[in-house]
Amino acid sequence: MRGVRFTFPDGSEALRGVDFTIHHGESVGLVGANGAGKSSILLHLAGVYLASEGEVRVGDWPVSRSTLVEVRRRVGLVFQDPDDQLFMPTVFQDVAFGPANQHLPPPEIEQRVGEALAHVGAEHLGQRPSHRLSGGERRAVALATVLALHPDILLLDEPSAGLDPMTRRRLIRWLGSFEHTRIVASHDLDLVLDSCERTLVLAAGRIIADGPTWSLLTDAALLERAGLELPLRLQGSPVTPHR
Protein backbone atom coordinates (compact mmCIF):
# COMPACT_ATOMS: atom_id res chain seq x y z
CA MET A 1 0.00 0.00 0.00
CA ARG A 2 1.29 3.45 -0.90
CA GLY A 3 -0.25 6.58 0.60
CA VAL A 4 -3.69 4.98 0.82
CA ARG A 5 -6.51 7.15 2.05
CA PHE A 6 -10.11 6.08 2.24
CA THR A 7 -13.18 8.12 3.08
CA PHE A 8 -16.64 6.64 3.62
CA PRO A 9 -19.54 8.21 1.71
CA ASP A 10 -20.67 9.89 4.95
CA GLY A 11 -17.35 11.78 5.05
CA SER A 12 -15.66 9.90 7.89
CA GLU A 13 -12.06 9.03 7.15
CA ALA A 14 -11.09 5.39 7.74
CA LEU A 15 -7.52 5.47 6.40
CA ARG A 16 -5.40 8.62 6.43
CA GLY A 17 -2.30 7.72 4.44
CA VAL A 18 -1.26 4.10 4.95
CA ASP A 19 2.12 2.82 3.66
CA PHE A 20 3.51 -0.69 3.98
CA THR A 21 4.94 -3.55 1.93
CA ILE A 22 4.48 -7.18 2.84
CA HIS A 23 6.64 -9.86 1.21
CA HIS A 24 5.71 -13.38 0.25
CA GLY A 25 5.49 -15.81 3.14
CA GLU A 26 5.38 -13.16 5.87
CA SER A 27 2.91 -13.43 8.74
CA VAL A 28 1.76 -10.00 9.78
CA GLY A 29 -0.48 -8.90 12.64
CA LEU A 30 -2.67 -5.78 12.33
CA VAL A 31 -3.50 -4.38 15.73
CA GLY A 32 -5.24 -1.24 16.88
CA ALA A 33 -8.28 0.03 18.78
CA ASN A 34 -11.83 -0.21 17.42
CA GLY A 35 -12.18 1.96 14.34
CA ALA A 36 -8.39 2.27 13.85
CA GLY A 37 -8.72 0.96 10.29
CA LYS A 38 -7.80 -2.75 10.56
CA SER A 39 -10.82 -4.10 8.70
CA SER A 40 -10.59 -1.28 6.14
CA ILE A 41 -7.04 -2.34 5.26
CA LEU A 42 -8.12 -5.96 4.76
CA LEU A 43 -11.09 -4.89 2.65
CA HIS A 44 -8.76 -2.80 0.48
CA LEU A 45 -6.41 -5.73 -0.06
CA ALA A 46 -9.37 -7.85 -1.21
CA GLY A 47 -10.64 -5.08 -3.47
CA VAL A 48 -13.94 -4.72 -1.60
CA TYR A 49 -13.05 -1.08 -0.92
CA LEU A 50 -11.13 0.87 -3.54
CA ALA A 51 -8.74 3.53 -2.25
CA SER A 52 -9.93 7.15 -2.54
CA GLU A 53 -6.26 8.13 -2.89
CA GLY A 54 -2.95 6.24 -3.16
CA GLU A 55 -2.22 2.78 -4.54
CA VAL A 56 -2.85 -0.78 -3.40
CA ARG A 57 -0.92 -3.58 -5.14
CA VAL A 58 -1.31 -7.30 -4.65
CA GLY A 59 1.63 -9.12 -6.21
CA ASP A 60 2.00 -7.64 -9.69
CA TRP A 61 -1.56 -6.35 -9.80
CA PRO A 62 -2.72 -2.87 -8.85
CA VAL A 63 -6.11 -3.24 -7.14
CA SER A 64 -8.68 -1.57 -9.36
CA ARG A 65 -12.05 -2.40 -10.88
CA SER A 66 -10.44 -3.97 -13.93
CA THR A 67 -8.12 -6.27 -11.95
CA LEU A 68 -10.55 -7.47 -9.29
CA VAL A 69 -10.85 -10.99 -10.70
CA GLU A 70 -7.07 -11.47 -10.72
CA VAL A 71 -6.62 -9.91 -7.28
CA ARG A 72 -9.33 -12.03 -5.71
CA ARG A 73 -7.85 -15.17 -7.19
CA ARG A 74 -4.77 -14.51 -5.07
CA VAL A 75 -6.33 -13.12 -1.93
CA GLY A 76 -8.61 -15.00 0.46
CA LEU A 77 -10.50 -12.91 3.03
CA VAL A 78 -12.10 -14.55 6.06
CA PHE A 79 -14.78 -12.23 7.42
CA GLN A 80 -15.21 -11.38 11.06
CA ASP A 81 -18.76 -12.78 11.25
CA PRO A 82 -18.92 -16.30 9.78
CA ASP A 83 -22.63 -15.75 9.11
CA ASP A 84 -21.61 -13.25 6.44
CA GLN A 85 -19.25 -15.77 4.90
CA LEU A 86 -21.47 -18.85 4.91
CA PHE A 87 -24.38 -18.21 2.61
CA MET A 88 -24.99 -21.58 0.97
CA PRO A 89 -27.40 -24.18 2.35
CA THR A 90 -24.83 -26.84 3.26
CA VAL A 91 -21.23 -26.74 4.36
CA PHE A 92 -20.10 -28.71 1.31
CA GLN A 93 -21.81 -26.29 -1.08
CA ASP A 94 -20.40 -23.33 0.79
CA VAL A 95 -16.83 -24.56 0.53
CA ALA A 96 -17.43 -25.53 -3.11
CA PHE A 97 -18.81 -22.08 -3.96
CA GLY A 98 -15.43 -20.46 -4.72
CA PRO A 99 -13.95 -23.36 -6.73
CA ALA A 100 -17.22 -23.66 -8.67
CA ASN A 101 -16.94 -19.99 -9.60
CA GLN A 102 -13.46 -20.73 -10.94
CA HIS A 103 -15.16 -23.20 -13.30
CA LEU A 104 -13.12 -26.13 -12.01
CA PRO A 105 -14.30 -29.61 -13.04
CA PRO A 106 -16.54 -31.31 -10.41
CA PRO A 107 -13.99 -33.98 -9.30
CA GLU A 108 -11.43 -31.25 -8.61
CA ILE A 109 -14.03 -29.19 -6.73
CA GLU A 110 -14.82 -32.20 -4.58
CA GLN A 111 -11.15 -32.82 -3.89
CA ARG A 112 -10.56 -29.18 -2.92
CA VAL A 113 -13.56 -29.18 -0.60
CA GLY A 114 -12.33 -32.38 1.06
CA GLU A 115 -8.82 -30.99 1.52
CA ALA A 116 -10.00 -27.62 2.83
CA LEU A 117 -12.38 -29.20 5.35
CA ALA A 118 -9.73 -31.69 6.46
CA HIS A 119 -7.28 -28.84 6.92
CA VAL A 120 -9.49 -27.18 9.51
CA GLY A 121 -10.64 -30.47 11.06
CA ALA A 122 -14.21 -30.19 9.76
CA GLU A 123 -14.47 -33.17 7.36
CA HIS A 124 -17.44 -34.52 9.31
CA LEU A 125 -19.51 -31.35 8.76
CA GLY A 126 -19.81 -31.63 4.97
CA GLN A 127 -23.51 -32.33 4.68
CA ARG A 128 -24.61 -30.19 7.64
CA PRO A 129 -26.63 -27.02 6.96
CA SER A 130 -24.43 -23.97 7.59
CA HIS A 131 -26.98 -22.42 9.95
CA ARG A 132 -26.82 -25.36 12.35
CA LEU A 133 -23.15 -25.16 13.24
CA SER A 134 -21.69 -24.04 16.56
CA GLY A 135 -19.62 -20.85 16.71
CA GLY A 136 -16.30 -22.70 16.47
CA GLU A 137 -17.52 -24.94 13.64
CA ARG A 138 -18.74 -21.90 11.72
CA ARG A 139 -15.39 -20.22 12.09
CA ALA A 140 -13.57 -23.37 10.90
CA VAL A 141 -15.85 -23.76 7.89
CA ALA A 142 -15.52 -20.05 7.01
CA LEU A 143 -11.77 -20.60 6.93
CA ALA A 144 -12.21 -23.69 4.75
CA THR A 145 -14.33 -21.75 2.23
CA VAL A 146 -11.33 -19.51 1.63
CA LEU A 147 -8.67 -22.26 1.74
CA ALA A 148 -10.52 -24.13 -1.02
CA LEU A 149 -9.57 -21.24 -3.32
CA HIS A 150 -5.83 -21.91 -2.72
CA PRO A 151 -5.07 -18.24 -2.03
CA ASP A 152 -1.49 -16.92 -2.01
CA ILE A 153 -2.44 -14.38 0.62
CA LEU A 154 -4.76 -15.12 3.51
CA LEU A 155 -6.50 -12.22 5.26
CA LEU A 156 -8.21 -12.92 8.58
CA ASP A 157 -10.45 -10.42 10.39
CA GLU A 158 -10.66 -11.14 14.13
CA PRO A 159 -10.25 -14.89 13.65
CA SER A 160 -10.33 -15.77 17.36
CA ALA A 161 -13.41 -13.72 18.32
CA GLY A 162 -15.94 -15.92 20.10
CA LEU A 163 -13.79 -19.05 20.10
CA ASP A 164 -13.35 -21.26 23.16
CA PRO A 165 -9.77 -21.64 24.41
CA MET A 166 -9.13 -25.04 22.81
CA THR A 167 -10.48 -23.99 19.43
CA ARG A 168 -8.48 -20.79 19.64
CA ARG A 169 -5.33 -22.78 20.40
CA ARG A 170 -6.01 -25.01 17.37
CA LEU A 171 -6.41 -21.90 15.23
CA ILE A 172 -3.04 -20.56 16.42
CA ARG A 173 -1.34 -23.88 15.60
CA TRP A 174 -3.04 -23.92 12.26
CA LEU A 175 -1.99 -20.34 11.43
CA GLY A 176 1.60 -21.32 12.17
CA SER A 177 1.39 -24.16 9.65
CA PHE A 178 0.06 -22.06 6.75
CA GLU A 179 3.06 -21.35 4.60
CA HIS A 180 1.74 -18.54 2.39
CA THR A 181 1.42 -14.87 3.32
CA ARG A 182 -1.10 -14.22 6.08
CA ILE A 183 -2.35 -10.97 7.56
CA VAL A 184 -4.28 -11.19 10.81
CA ALA A 185 -6.32 -8.26 12.13
CA SER A 186 -7.07 -8.88 15.79
CA HIS A 187 -7.59 -7.51 19.26
CA ASP A 188 -6.28 -10.79 20.58
CA LEU A 189 -2.68 -9.67 21.06
CA ASP A 190 -1.64 -13.04 22.47
CA LEU A 191 -2.76 -14.67 19.24
CA VAL A 192 -0.75 -12.12 17.25
CA LEU A 193 2.23 -12.77 19.50
CA ASP A 194 1.98 -16.50 18.81
CA SER A 195 1.28 -16.47 15.10
CA CYS A 196 2.83 -13.35 13.53
CA GLU A 197 6.50 -12.44 13.15
CA ARG A 198 5.76 -8.86 12.17
CA THR A 199 3.12 -6.41 13.40
CA LEU A 200 1.63 -3.15 12.19
CA VAL A 201 0.17 -0.97 14.93
CA LEU A 202 -2.68 1.27 13.76
CA ALA A 203 -4.20 4.34 15.36
CA ALA A 204 -6.85 6.60 13.82
CA GLY A 205 -6.28 5.40 10.26
CA ARG A 206 -2.47 5.59 10.31
CA ILE A 207 0.30 3.10 10.94
CA ILE A 208 2.16 4.31 14.02
CA ALA A 209 4.60 1.40 14.28
CA ASP A 210 5.82 -1.42 12.04
CA GLY A 211 8.33 -4.01 13.24
CA PRO A 212 8.95 -7.39 14.85
CA THR A 213 5.90 -8.46 16.86
CA TRP A 214 7.80 -9.21 20.04
CA SER A 215 9.43 -5.78 20.31
CA LEU A 216 6.22 -3.85 19.49
CA LEU A 217 3.84 -5.81 21.68
CA THR A 218 6.12 -5.48 24.70
CA ASP A 219 6.24 -1.68 24.38
CA ALA A 220 3.58 -0.59 26.86
CA ALA A 221 3.82 3.13 25.95
CA LEU A 222 3.32 2.45 22.24
CA LEU A 223 0.38 0.14 22.90
CA GLU A 224 -1.24 2.72 25.14
CA ARG A 225 -0.96 5.31 22.38
CA ALA A 226 -2.81 2.88 20.09
CA GLY A 227 -5.58 2.32 22.64
CA LEU A 228 -4.28 -1.15 23.50
CA GLU A 229 -2.56 -2.77 26.46
CA LEU A 230 0.11 -5.41 26.91
CA PRO A 231 -0.80 -8.95 25.85
CA LEU A 232 -2.37 -10.76 28.80
CA ARG A 233 0.55 -13.12 29.29
CA LEU A 234 2.89 -10.17 29.71
CA GLN A 235 0.73 -8.52 32.36
CA GLY A 236 1.69 -9.47 35.92
CA SER A 237 -1.00 -11.81 37.21
CA PRO A 238 -2.83 -10.23 40.18
CA VAL A 239 -3.74 -13.70 41.42
CA THR A 240 -0.97 -15.62 43.15
CA PRO A 241 -1.70 -19.31 43.13
CA HIS A 242 -1.58 -21.03 46.54
CA ARG A 243 0.92 -23.76 46.91
Binding site: G76, F87, T90, P106
Partner: protein, 266 residues
Protein backbone atom coordinates in the same frame (compact mmCIF):
# COMPACT_ATOMS: atom_id res chain seq x y z
CA UNK B 1 -39.39 -21.03 24.11
CA UNK B 2 -40.76 -18.09 22.13
CA UNK B 3 -42.90 -18.51 19.00
CA UNK B 4 -39.89 -17.55 16.86
CA UNK B 5 -37.75 -20.21 18.55
CA UNK B 6 -40.47 -22.76 17.87
CA UNK B 7 -40.84 -21.75 14.22
CA UNK B 8 -37.09 -22.05 13.75
CA UNK B 9 -36.92 -25.46 15.36
CA UNK B 10 -39.75 -26.64 13.06
CA UNK B 11 -37.76 -25.48 10.06
CA UNK B 12 -34.75 -27.29 11.50
CA UNK B 13 -36.67 -30.51 11.88
CA UNK B 14 -37.97 -30.27 8.31
CA UNK B 15 -34.36 -29.85 7.25
CA UNK B 16 -33.25 -32.81 9.32
CA UNK B 17 -35.89 -35.06 7.81
CA UNK B 18 -34.50 -34.26 4.36
CA UNK B 19 -31.33 -36.07 5.38
CA UNK B 20 -33.16 -39.30 6.27
CA UNK B 21 -32.07 -42.10 4.00
CA UNK B 22 -35.53 -43.13 2.80
CA UNK B 23 -36.74 -44.57 -0.53
CA UNK B 24 -38.38 -41.23 -1.38
CA UNK B 25 -35.36 -39.28 -0.15
CA UNK B 26 -33.05 -41.16 -2.50
CA UNK B 27 -35.04 -40.18 -5.61
CA UNK B 28 -33.71 -37.37 -7.81
CA UNK B 29 -35.01 -33.98 -6.68
CA UNK B 30 -36.18 -33.14 -10.21
CA UNK B 31 -38.46 -36.18 -10.28
CA UNK B 32 -40.05 -35.14 -7.00
CA UNK B 33 -40.39 -31.51 -8.08
CA UNK B 34 -42.13 -32.59 -11.29
CA UNK B 35 -44.61 -34.88 -9.56
CA UNK B 36 -45.30 -32.25 -6.88
CA UNK B 37 -45.96 -29.61 -9.55
CA UNK B 38 -48.28 -32.05 -11.33
CA UNK B 39 -49.99 -32.69 -8.00
CA UNK B 40 -50.52 -28.97 -7.33
CA UNK B 41 -51.87 -28.33 -10.83
CA UNK B 42 -54.23 -31.28 -10.49
CA UNK B 43 -55.45 -30.13 -7.08
CA UNK B 44 -56.00 -26.58 -8.32
CA UNK B 45 -57.79 -27.73 -11.46
CA UNK B 46 -60.79 -29.19 -9.65
CA UNK B 47 -63.92 -27.05 -9.54
CA UNK B 48 -64.96 -25.48 -6.26
CA UNK B 49 -67.95 -27.78 -5.87
CA UNK B 50 -66.05 -30.99 -6.61
CA UNK B 51 -65.54 -32.19 -3.10
CA UNK B 52 -65.13 -35.92 -3.63
CA UNK B 53 -63.15 -36.14 -6.87
CA UNK B 54 -59.78 -34.94 -5.41
CA UNK B 55 -60.00 -37.40 -2.47
CA UNK B 56 -58.10 -40.25 -4.20
CA UNK B 57 -55.05 -37.95 -4.18
CA UNK B 58 -54.79 -38.82 -0.50
CA UNK B 59 -53.68 -42.30 -1.64
CA UNK B 60 -50.73 -40.82 -3.55
CA UNK B 61 -49.83 -38.56 -0.61
CA UNK B 62 -50.01 -41.44 1.87
CA UNK B 63 -47.82 -43.60 -0.34
CA UNK B 64 -45.28 -40.76 -0.63
CA UNK B 65 -45.41 -40.11 3.07
CA UNK B 66 -44.86 -43.80 3.87
CA UNK B 67 -41.88 -43.92 1.50
CA UNK B 68 -40.40 -40.77 3.04
CA UNK B 69 -40.34 -42.26 6.57
CA UNK B 70 -41.11 -38.81 8.03
CA UNK B 71 -43.20 -39.02 11.22
CA UNK B 72 -46.85 -38.29 10.33
CA UNK B 73 -47.33 -36.35 13.56
CA UNK B 74 -45.09 -33.55 12.31
CA UNK B 75 -47.24 -33.25 9.18
CA UNK B 76 -50.45 -32.87 11.18
CA UNK B 77 -48.89 -30.18 13.33
CA UNK B 78 -47.59 -28.12 10.40
CA UNK B 79 -50.88 -28.38 8.54
CA UNK B 80 -52.68 -27.18 11.66
CA UNK B 81 -50.37 -24.13 11.85
CA UNK B 82 -51.04 -23.23 8.22
CA UNK B 83 -54.76 -24.02 7.97
CA UNK B 84 -56.11 -20.76 9.49
CA UNK B 85 -55.05 -19.08 6.22
CA UNK B 86 -57.35 -21.35 4.21
CA UNK B 87 -60.13 -20.99 6.76
CA UNK B 88 -59.88 -17.20 6.51
CA UNK B 89 -60.02 -17.33 2.72
CA UNK B 90 -62.99 -19.68 2.57
CA UNK B 91 -65.04 -18.65 5.58
CA UNK B 92 -67.19 -16.12 3.70
CA UNK B 93 -68.32 -18.57 1.03
CA UNK B 94 -71.31 -19.91 3.03
CA UNK B 95 -72.62 -16.31 3.13
CA UNK B 96 -72.19 -15.72 -0.60
CA UNK B 97 -73.62 -19.02 -1.83
CA UNK B 98 -76.64 -19.84 0.35
CA UNK B 99 -78.47 -21.98 -2.27
CA UNK B 100 -78.86 -25.65 -1.23
CA UNK B 101 -76.66 -28.17 -3.02
CA UNK B 102 -76.42 -31.43 -1.13
CA UNK B 103 -78.72 -33.41 1.11
CA UNK B 104 -77.09 -35.59 3.75
CA UNK B 105 -79.97 -37.45 5.39
CA UNK B 106 -82.25 -34.71 6.66
CA UNK B 107 -79.51 -32.04 6.57
CA UNK B 108 -79.30 -29.65 3.61
CA UNK B 109 -75.83 -28.37 2.79
CA UNK B 110 -75.53 -25.09 0.88
CA UNK B 111 -73.17 -24.54 -2.08
CA UNK B 112 -71.16 -22.11 0.05
CA UNK B 113 -70.34 -24.75 2.62
CA UNK B 114 -69.33 -27.17 -0.13
CA UNK B 115 -66.96 -24.63 -1.70
CA UNK B 116 -65.58 -23.73 1.74
CA UNK B 117 -64.79 -27.39 2.42
CA UNK B 118 -63.35 -27.73 -1.07
CA UNK B 119 -60.96 -24.80 -0.49
CA UNK B 120 -59.87 -26.32 2.80
CA UNK B 121 -59.46 -29.75 1.23
CA UNK B 122 -57.39 -28.50 -1.68
CA UNK B 123 -55.31 -26.30 0.57
CA UNK B 124 -54.49 -29.19 2.90
CA UNK B 125 -53.68 -31.51 -0.02
CA UNK B 126 -51.38 -28.97 -1.68
CA UNK B 127 -49.72 -28.00 1.57
CA UNK B 128 -49.09 -31.64 2.50
CA UNK B 129 -47.53 -32.27 -0.92
CA UNK B 130 -45.18 -29.30 -0.60
CA UNK B 131 -44.20 -30.28 2.95
CA UNK B 132 -43.53 -33.80 1.71
CA UNK B 133 -41.35 -32.46 -1.11
CA UNK B 134 -39.29 -30.21 1.17
CA UNK B 135 -39.18 -32.76 3.98
CA UNK B 136 -37.91 -35.54 1.74
CA UNK B 137 -35.60 -33.46 -0.44
CA UNK B 138 -34.31 -30.37 1.38
CA UNK B 139 -34.59 -26.78 0.21
CA UNK B 140 -31.13 -26.80 -1.38
CA UNK B 141 -31.82 -29.83 -3.56
CA UNK B 142 -35.26 -28.47 -4.51
CA UNK B 143 -33.60 -25.20 -5.55
CA UNK B 144 -30.96 -27.07 -7.57
CA UNK B 145 -33.71 -29.09 -9.25
CA UNK B 146 -35.70 -25.92 -10.07
CA UNK B 147 -32.56 -24.45 -11.62
CA UNK B 148 -32.02 -27.53 -13.78
CA UNK B 149 -35.68 -27.51 -14.79
CA UNK B 150 -35.28 -24.02 -16.26
CA UNK B 151 -36.46 -21.72 -13.46
CA UNK B 152 -34.52 -18.41 -13.83
CA UNK B 153 -31.23 -18.38 -11.89
CA UNK B 154 -32.11 -15.15 -10.12
CA UNK B 155 -35.15 -16.77 -8.53
CA UNK B 156 -33.20 -19.86 -7.50
CA UNK B 157 -30.44 -17.70 -5.98
CA UNK B 158 -33.04 -15.69 -4.09
CA UNK B 159 -34.74 -18.80 -2.80
CA UNK B 160 -31.43 -20.19 -1.51
CA UNK B 161 -30.34 -16.95 0.12
CA UNK B 162 -33.78 -16.40 1.60
CA UNK B 163 -33.71 -19.84 3.16
CA UNK B 164 -30.19 -19.35 4.48
CA UNK B 165 -30.82 -15.93 6.02
CA UNK B 166 -34.28 -16.47 7.41
CA UNK B 167 -32.50 -18.18 10.31
CA UNK B 168 -30.11 -15.30 10.86
CA UNK B 169 -32.93 -12.77 10.62
CA UNK B 170 -35.10 -14.74 13.03
CA UNK B 171 -32.22 -14.95 15.49
CA UNK B 172 -31.81 -11.19 15.22
CA UNK B 173 -35.52 -10.57 15.92
CA UNK B 174 -35.30 -13.02 18.77
CA UNK B 175 -32.38 -11.16 20.35
CA UNK B 176 -34.16 -7.81 19.98
CA UNK B 177 -37.32 -9.13 21.62
CA UNK B 178 -35.30 -10.68 24.42
CA UNK B 179 -33.44 -7.42 25.00
CA UNK B 180 -36.80 -5.64 25.06
CA UNK B 181 -38.40 -8.03 27.51
CA UNK B 182 -35.40 -7.78 29.86
CA UNK B 183 -35.62 -4.01 29.96
CA UNK B 184 -39.42 -3.80 29.97
CA UNK B 185 -40.45 -6.78 32.10
CA UNK B 186 -43.91 -5.31 32.78
CA UNK B 187 -44.78 -5.26 29.08
CA UNK B 188 -45.12 -8.68 27.43
CA UNK B 189 -45.29 -7.14 23.95
CA UNK B 190 -43.43 -4.08 22.70
CA UNK B 191 -45.54 -0.97 22.03
CA UNK B 192 -46.30 -0.01 18.45
CA UNK B 193 -43.82 2.85 18.69
CA UNK B 194 -41.05 0.47 19.80
CA UNK B 195 -42.00 -2.07 17.13
CA UNK B 196 -41.65 0.65 14.52
CA UNK B 197 -38.12 1.51 15.53
CA UNK B 198 -37.26 -2.18 15.90
CA UNK B 199 -38.40 -2.82 12.34
CA UNK B 200 -36.37 0.13 11.10
CA UNK B 201 -33.33 -1.14 12.96
CA UNK B 202 -33.90 -4.62 11.54
CA UNK B 203 -34.07 -3.24 8.01
CA UNK B 204 -30.82 -1.30 8.47
CA UNK B 205 -29.07 -4.31 9.97
CA UNK B 206 -30.32 -6.51 7.14
CA UNK B 207 -29.06 -4.04 4.55
CA UNK B 208 -25.66 -3.88 6.24
CA UNK B 209 -25.54 -7.67 6.38
CA UNK B 210 -26.59 -7.95 2.75
CA UNK B 211 -23.67 -5.71 1.85
CA UNK B 212 -21.22 -7.84 3.81
CA UNK B 213 -22.58 -11.08 2.37
CA UNK B 214 -22.35 -9.65 -1.12
CA UNK B 215 -18.74 -8.64 -0.46
CA UNK B 216 -17.99 -12.15 0.83
CA UNK B 217 -19.53 -13.61 -2.32
CA UNK B 218 -17.53 -11.30 -4.57
CA UNK B 219 -14.34 -12.23 -2.74
CA UNK B 220 -14.94 -15.82 -3.76
CA UNK B 221 -15.50 -15.05 -7.41
CA UNK B 222 -19.30 -14.64 -7.51
CA UNK B 223 -20.39 -13.47 -10.96
CA UNK B 224 -24.16 -13.38 -10.63
CA UNK B 225 -24.93 -17.07 -10.56
CA UNK B 226 -24.88 -19.58 -7.71
CA UNK B 227 -23.30 -22.66 -9.24
CA UNK B 228 -24.99 -25.70 -7.83
CA UNK B 229 -22.68 -28.58 -7.12
CA UNK B 230 -25.41 -30.85 -5.76
CA UNK B 231 -25.08 -33.96 -7.89
CA UNK B 232 -28.37 -34.78 -9.60
CA UNK B 233 -28.75 -38.01 -11.51
CA UNK B 234 -31.92 -39.29 -13.10
CA UNK B 235 -32.16 -43.09 -13.04
CA UNK B 236 -34.70 -45.68 -14.01
CA UNK B 237 -36.32 -45.48 -10.58
CA UNK B 238 -36.83 -41.73 -10.99
CA UNK B 239 -38.38 -42.18 -14.43
CA UNK B 240 -40.76 -44.84 -13.07
CA UNK B 241 -41.66 -42.59 -10.15
CA UNK B 242 -42.49 -39.68 -12.47
CA UNK B 243 -44.49 -41.91 -14.83
CA UNK B 244 -46.44 -43.60 -12.03
CA UNK B 245 -47.02 -40.31 -10.20
CA UNK B 246 -48.18 -38.30 -13.21
CA UNK B 247 -50.17 -41.31 -14.51
CA UNK B 248 -52.08 -41.56 -11.24
CA UNK B 249 -52.70 -37.81 -11.23
CA UNK B 250 -54.08 -37.98 -14.77
CA UNK B 251 -56.33 -40.87 -13.76
CA UNK B 252 -57.69 -38.97 -10.77
CA UNK B 253 -58.26 -35.86 -12.90
CA UNK B 254 -59.84 -37.51 -15.93
CA UNK B 255 -61.83 -40.34 -14.37
CA UNK B 256 -64.18 -39.66 -11.48
CA UNK B 257 -62.75 -42.39 -9.24
CA UNK B 258 -65.08 -41.99 -6.23
CA UNK B 259 -68.12 -42.27 -8.52
CA UNK B 260 -66.64 -45.27 -10.33
CA UNK B 261 -66.01 -47.01 -7.02
CA UNK B 262 -69.54 -46.12 -5.90
CA UNK B 263 -71.01 -47.59 -9.10
CA UNK B 264 -68.97 -50.74 -8.62
CA UNK B 265 -70.29 -51.19 -5.12
CA UNK B 266 -73.89 -50.57 -6.11
Amino acid sequence: MTPIDRAISHLHSLDASARLDSPLGRLDARAKVLVTLGFLVTVASFGRHQLLQPLPLVILLSAGWALSEIPVRSLGFRLAIASPVAVLIGMWNPLFEPEPMLRLGSMVVSAGWVSFLSILERFLLGMAAVLLLIGSTGVDAVAAALGRLGVPRVLVTQLLLLYRYVFVLAAEVERMLRAHSLRAPNRPRPELRTVRSMLGELLLRSLARAERVHAAMLCRGFAGELRAVTPLRLGLGDALFVLAGLGFLALVRLADLPRAIGNLLR
